[in-house]
């Protein structure tokens, strides 16, 4: 997101909250989100892909809505109105290719109109087929979730992304030899996919509230949180959306203050630190231990300020149009232990994995070997092992969410190990309270030491996160140790 885009979004949100109320607010948020989806999409070297990727996000969202929509819902009229609006918008964006110099909201010229129309007809036909023949079918929910995960894995795994890029290039008549895994820069897909997975899973368990197409698309593609989250929950989001809202001066100030804080964090602090933050190029060039630590600290703070800044901006813009997006960070580097860190770092992602992976997995492991066996006779796994398996699985998956590489696996494993050690220590210290607990000064010192240790544990983990290979990471670790 550039400063210009940010200014436009801020002004649009302010207008939306101040002038357009009630009925129009929902529609305008939908239109704003759709336009932002195309406008924010980065350019890609594959012809027309910067039009097709946002269109694919939109198509996926609409299809997931049709799949999660309760079969008994009588919403034909609003659905048709929303569907028509979405179709008209996509066609309008496609038509900008004929506008000459005024072209286009997308980074490059959209494809020919017939191609756009064919794509729209295919999506509409699929949506109609789901509504007509398979509304709310469990197998379809599971299949859709699997398809989204498969797509996610393809994008995040270099060889698959490379093959996909080569295929797309060949399809568009471009040379496949130029293909790169970086070609598939799909704006916000990591976040959109997880919102859609959340909707599919909650529909399976019956927790997803009925949502109109307009509400669902606005939720999944809400423009402030497209680029860097947070991953809101549909039931929470829609509550804000349905609430009557008129922006007060105090709320406007809150929102604007948050945006200014975010801009300062992202564009002043984080972008400044980026010049000296650890990366694949400077890691190999750094010759001194002291400066290697400086680069690592710079990376740690840059990452936090960059991500935290974007979150502030998203929350601020959301607030201006009456949506209180969830917090994603809560002073994570000041936490006394790793568990507290993970309750305050990328909170919505951690909560997502807790809800949809850790909790179900540990529940399943606790009730092993079989739920058919009476509880008294069950011989579940030892609690420590359950915790370990749950944490290791969760953290490695969180690592893989960032990219399917060994470095992200190592990063996840590092945090899993830290969380497990802390979990065991917490259990032990509950039974054997440490002596410093009784002395306020000692306790303060221990807490300070905890903050310092936790920060450095996390910072060392960033070595894997920041670098492209295990060998380079090892080189940096040796450098940090003075070797």
């Amino acid at each position: 997101m550039t400063l210009t885009q940010l200014l436009v979004f801020g002004a649009a949100a302010l207008l939306l909250g101040w002038i357009f109320k009630e009925r129009w607010r929902g529609w305008l948020m939908l239109i704003g989100s759709l336009l932002a989806l195309y406008w924010l999409q980065p350019a890609t070297p594959i012809r027309h892909l910067d039009f097709w990727l946002p269109t694919a996000s939109l198509a996926l969202t609409v299809l997931v809505w049709t799949i999660t929509r309760p079969p008994t819902t009588d919403d034909t009229r609003p659905t048709l109105i929303t569907g028509t609006l979405i179709t008209a918008l996509v066609i309008a964006i496609g038509l900008t290719r004929y506008l000459g110099p005024a072209c286009c909201p997308t980074p490059t010229r959209p494809p020919d109109l017939p191609e756009v129309l064919i794509a729209l007809v295919v999506v509409a036909a699929l949506a109609a087929a789901v509504i007509r023949f398979a509304p709310g079918r469990r197998w379809l929910l599971a299949l859709s979730a699997a398809a989204i995960i498969a797509l996610f894995v393809t994008l995040k795994t270099e060889p698959f992304a490379l093959a996909a890029s080569a295929g797309l290039r060949a399809l568009g008549g471009q040379s496949a030899e130029q293909a790169s895994a970086l070609d598939l820069r799909w704006l916000g897909f990591s976040y959109i996919a997880f919102r859609l997975l959340h909707a599919l899973r909650d529909r399976m368990t019956g927790r997803l509230p009925p949502l109109s197409l307009q509400e669902f698309v606005t939720y999944a593609l809400f423009f402030p949180s497209l680029t860097a989250g947070p991953i809101d929950r549909a039931e929470r989001f829609v509550k804000d959306l349905r609430q009557p809202f008129a922006l007060s001066v105090a709320e406007a100030m809150d929102g604007l203050t948050r945006i200014v804080a975010g801009v300062f964090k992202k564009f002043v602090l984080a972008d400044t630190l980026a010049a000296i933050a650890l990366n694949g190029a400077n890691a190999a060039q750094t010759t001194s231990t002291l400066w290697m630590w400086v680069l690592l600290y710079a990376y740690a703070f840059r990452l936090y300020l960059d991500f935290g800044g974007y979150t502030d901006i998203a929350i601020g813009i959301g607030r201006l149009c009456g949506v209180r997006l969830p917090e994603n960070f809560d002073r994570p580097y000041l936490k006394q232990n790793l568990t507290a860190f993970w309750n305050s770092w990328h909170i919505t992602l951690a909560q997502w994995f807790r809800a949809y992976f850790f909790n179900p997995l540990t529940r399943a492991l606790r009730s092993a070997p079989s739920p058919q066996v009476p509880e008294a006779e069950r011989r579940g796994l030892p609690p420590a092992l359950i915790i370990f398996v749950g944490q290791a699985g969760t953290m490695i998956l969180i690592g893989l969410w960032h990219g399917v590489t060994w470095n992200f696996v190592a990063w996840g494993a590092w945090h899993a190990m830290g969380l497990f050690v802390h979990n065991r220590w917490a259990d032990y210290s509950r039974a054997h309270p440490p002596t410093w607990d009784n002395d306020p000064r000692l306790k303060r010192a221990a807490n300070g030491l905890g903050v310092l240790l936790t920060f450095h544990y996390v910072a060392l983990g960033w070595v894997w996160f920041a670098l492209p290979s295990l060998s380079l990471s090892q080189q940096v670790f040796l450098g940090l140790l003075g070797r």
Binding site: V249, A250, M253, T272, A275, I276, A281, N282, Q285, T286, T287, S288, W291, M292, V294, L295, A298
Partner: protein, 376 residues
């Protein structure tokens, strides 16, 4: 008590903020603190001083940048650290061949001279400081020399080549154009053949001197400090590409040299007045003028051109004119135009390999020592 946030309150806040902003801009414009800010530097304090002046087009790879605030450029250089007792300070000025394009700091001419561990007869250790800057212009050299005189030099070594001499090259460098004050003062104080009001000089309006107008220069100062971390961490201050295009060996039939015509150059065609001014600026500090090595082609049409820069007629005339001028003025000179083998030039007819640079250092070092011992 918490203040009620209403439109009046917001209006007040905005009004005061604007007032403060305007006042800050006005104060900044009147005070012009850029040079003072440029002198405030973490180099030689937290980071080691740079071995050459900051210059770079690709900061992400070179951890370096080009800026125009002379004070900041010099403050980031090791030369601005206090002069150690017993140091015989030699300042090298010149173009990219002195600055050391494609060369690591230790492989530049300054690095090679320092590696030679020369000691004067009086027991002072010769320490060469690289003040080259990668643009060919004697006016630019003079501007840097004038600033460098603050740093207690014992000798100036000025490496020159014909390409730095034509008048159309003099006010061309952005560094010169963005420092109109010091340059105009040189033009006024020395008999230089330039108009102090030449349109090449950047004329700053009131708005250009405000905080807003100076935002780029201020950001550059900050970036220079920031890249100090990377300089300290890596010792890298330029991009070293794995592959580069080699200097040209074959040429078309081309006799041209700037807008000057064969068969002969005259002294009036070349900016010898700047060399005169340089000697005057140096005052009692000895100046050694070195005609720097150049690539001599043996390729196609090498009977017409020595290299990419020079047709033979122009260079031969320059060579003669420089010798005549030096003799007339009693300058100390060293003619090294043809001493380095063609294989030791890299991507330009004046850029040397580390080996070529070592050969040059082995010639310049003793000449410095000889001149130093003669004066001590």
């Amino acid at each position: 008590m918490e203040r009620k946030v209403d439109l009046r309150f917001i209006g007040n806040v905005i009004f005061r903020a604007l007032l403060l902003f305007a006042a800050a801009n006005l104060l900044f414009t009147l005070g012009d603190p850029l040079p003072a800010l440029g002198r405030a530097s973490a180099y030689n304090l937290i980071f080691p001083g740079r071995q050459r002046l900051p210059y770079g087009e690709d900061p992400d790879r070179s951890y370096n940048l080009s800026l125009f605030t002379l004070e900041a450029m010099f403050a980031s250089h090791a030369v601005s650290a206090p002069k150690p007792v017993g140091e015989y300070r030699v300042l090298l000025i010149g173009d990219s061949s002195v600055w050391g394009t494609l060369l690591k700091p230790a492989d530049t001419l300054a690095g090679k001279i320092n590696a030679g561990n020369y000691t004067t007869r009086a027991g002072r250790k010769v320490r060469a400081h690289n003040l080259g800057y990668p643009i060919m212009s004697l006016a630019k050299d003079l501007l840097l020399l004038k600033t460098a005189m603050r740093y207690q030099p014992d000798m100036i070594v000025w490496l020159v080549t014909l390409e730095s001499f034509p008048y159309d090259k003099q006010l061309f460098p952005p560094l010169v154009q963005h420092n109109p004050g010091p340059m105009q003062s040189l033009i006024s104080n020395y008999p230089l053949r330039f108009d102090p009001n030449d349109p090449s000089f950047v004329k700053e309006s009131f708005w250009d001197r405000t905080l807003i107008g100076r935002r780029r220069a201020l950001a550059d100062l900050l970036r220079l400090q920031l890249y100090g971390v990377m300089w300290a961490a890596t010792g890298i201050d330029q991009d070293y590409p794995e592959k580069y295009e080699r200097r040209q060996e074959d040429f078309d039939v081309d006799y041209s040299f700037h807008d000057l015509q064969p068969p002969h150059l005259t002294a009036a065609d070349l900016a010898f007045d700047i060399l005169d001014a340089g000697h005057a600026v140096a005052g009692s500090v000895p100046v050694l003028v070195v005609n720097e090595p150049m690539f001599i082609s043996r390729g196609k049409n090498s009977d017409i051109r020595y290299n990419f820069f020079y047709p033979r007629w122009a260079y031969d005339d320059y060579h003669r004119l420089l010798a005549e001028r030096a003799e007339a003025r009693g300058w100390h000179t060293l003619d090294l135009g043809d001493v380095i083998e063609g294989g030791e030039f890299t991507n330009s007819a004046v850029h040397l390999t580390p080996k070529g640079s070592a050969q040059l250092g082995a010639l310049v070092g003793p000449a410095i020592l000889e001149l130093a011992n003669g004066g001590e």
